[in-house]
């Protein structure tokens, strides 16, 4: 039976990867262009006037945050749009009638989101190398944070798609929740620049822990404890996976 599950998991994963590679102009090119613009505007033009931050040039400081921003956005949108399309076109029924356990469905879709996020991470890192020398302080922390963050947001995208009834429903969370959390999550600044009260408020934003964990992997500096970052990511992943599992098992949004 385990072999059957493995075949099913591989099938869903390959299908998901094929999907985002087939529409690469929509999925891979925009983040590369957007991030290049960020590097040019915030890094080269404005950054040179800002000076250093956390002991690094502004450009060096924002690179990990920008990569993380691309990872968060893409892992989320990959799964939310793919699963919602499957609901919309009704081809999710192919999975519902097949003997595929719920956890395999979740892992297959989330795996697709993680694959896209990783590829985007590599692309944006390559783009950043045109502007700055990329430091690597701790490769293990980089990979761990990347996997845990992309898994978390891919699962969140799945939950969004489970509930979504229209295409508007899958764009609302990225616009009204993800973007503010990311921009206020320490991508462009160190929390130490904020007044103490706002530092405390910022620490309620989960994205702060992801960006800083990732930044620690590259630069060796962080506004928060990296251990707490990783522990929180594992905890959030467990919670969101459980929610997605219960919803799919019940058939919320997919079975009448």
């Amino acid at each position: 039976m385990n072999h059957l599950y493995f075949v099913a998991l591989r099938t869903i994963w390959i299908k998901e990867c094929t999907r985002f590679l087939r529409i690469w102009i929509q999925t891979l090119v925009p983040p590369a262009i957007t991030m290049s613009l960020y590097f040019v505007i915030f890094g080269s033009l404005i950054g040179s006037r800002i000076g250093t931050m956390g002991g690094f040039s502004y450009m060096e400081f924002i690179v990990p945050g920008l990569i993380m921003m691309a990872i968060i956005t893409n892992s989320y949108s990959n799964v939310s749009s793919s699963f919602f399309s499957a609901k919309f076109q009704r081809n999710v029924e192919e999975l519902l009638v097949a003997p595929v356990p719920t956890w395999v469905i979740i892992m297959g879709f989330v795996g697709g989101g993680v694959a896209r996020a990783m590829l985007i991470g590599v692309i944006v890192t390559c783009v950043s190398m045109f502007f700055v020398d990329v430091h690597i302080h701790h490769f293990g922390v980089i990979i761990l944070t990347l996997i845990l963050t992309s898994t978390l947001f891919a699962t969140a995208g799945l939950i969004n798609a489970i509930y979504a009834k229209t295409f508007d429903d899958i764009s609302m969370v990225p616009t009204f929740v993800l973007t503010p959390l990311t921009y206020l999550g320490g991508v462009f600044y160190s929390l130490s620049l904020l007044p103490e009260f706002w530092q405390w408020v910022s620490k309620a934003n989960p994205v702060v822990y992801m960006v800083n964990g990732f930044r620690y992997g590259f630069l060796g500096v962080s506004d928060v404890n990296v251990g707490i970052s990783v522990a929180l990511l594992i905890g959030f992943n467990a919670i969101l996976f459980s929610i997605a599992y219960v919803l799919l098992q019940r058939g919320t949004g997919i079975r009448s």
Binding site: L95, V100, R255
Partner: protein, 310 residues
Amino acid sequence: MFALDISGLTKTYKGGVQALRGVDLQVKEGDFFALLGPNGAGKSTTIGVIASLVNKSSGDVNVFGHSIDTALESAKSCIGLVPQEFNFNQFETLQQIMLNQAGYYGVPRSVAKERAEVYLKQLDLWEKRNAAARELSGGMKRRLMIARALMHEPKMLILDEPTAGVDIEIRRSMWKFLKQINDQGITIILTTHYLEEAEMLCRNIAIIDKGNIVENTSMKSLLSKLNVETFVLDIAPVKSAPELNGFTSRLIDDHTLEVDVEKSEGLNPVFTQLSTQGVQVMSMRNKSNRLEELFVRLVESGRQAQGDAA
């Protein structure tokens, strides 16, 4: 063992619509079974519950002895579903759709490729294997759904109006194919609004209306219940209606005569009387499909009984 054994199945949708009100149904292994009913009768809901697309409210469903409550994955492995609506990814190629379907059932890629070739060729889709599904005609899409449902070699195939909107030539080729796979031992459950299709293909039949099974019998015994058939005779033009003693007849126009004939009487006396009166019969046909007449009667009498009870 029954291929399908349903008892006391009920389904009430959110909002209170009671789609199934205690359905009991058994389908023998190897059968070609028709599940008929008017629109909204509960056919698709019943199929949805069997295939895990609809959550049941109560009752038991067993597929080849596997309960959908306790052995869902084993039950699902036995079923191939051809739903009413197209439900494949319109942007994927036929080959991808076939291979993905096999993968969901754990069929290894190499085996899946061989099967995809076999079924796409059998259903005349092989030439289109690299085309996106959205480029196919309606008939091709219907055949693709049948091919896809066979990829894991199910023991039971459930077809929900598989020939809807398909031209007669393709419909007949689909009938031939379905007969072939039924002869190979696959149990087939068919819902259709083409009653000629059910009469031609199916050995046993159930009629469902308003969530209740109103008839469940063999096709032969059902058809034997039809005592009176109406025939339409094309005749050489006449000025007045011919006299047919012992029969009810109606002259529709100067060359069309309708005659109600009881099974016990047969058609010979009709021809004898017409011949005596010099009426020349050019051709003859049933006014409607025999099963269609029975279907309408059964559904109407079921509704009348429910109305009386209420």
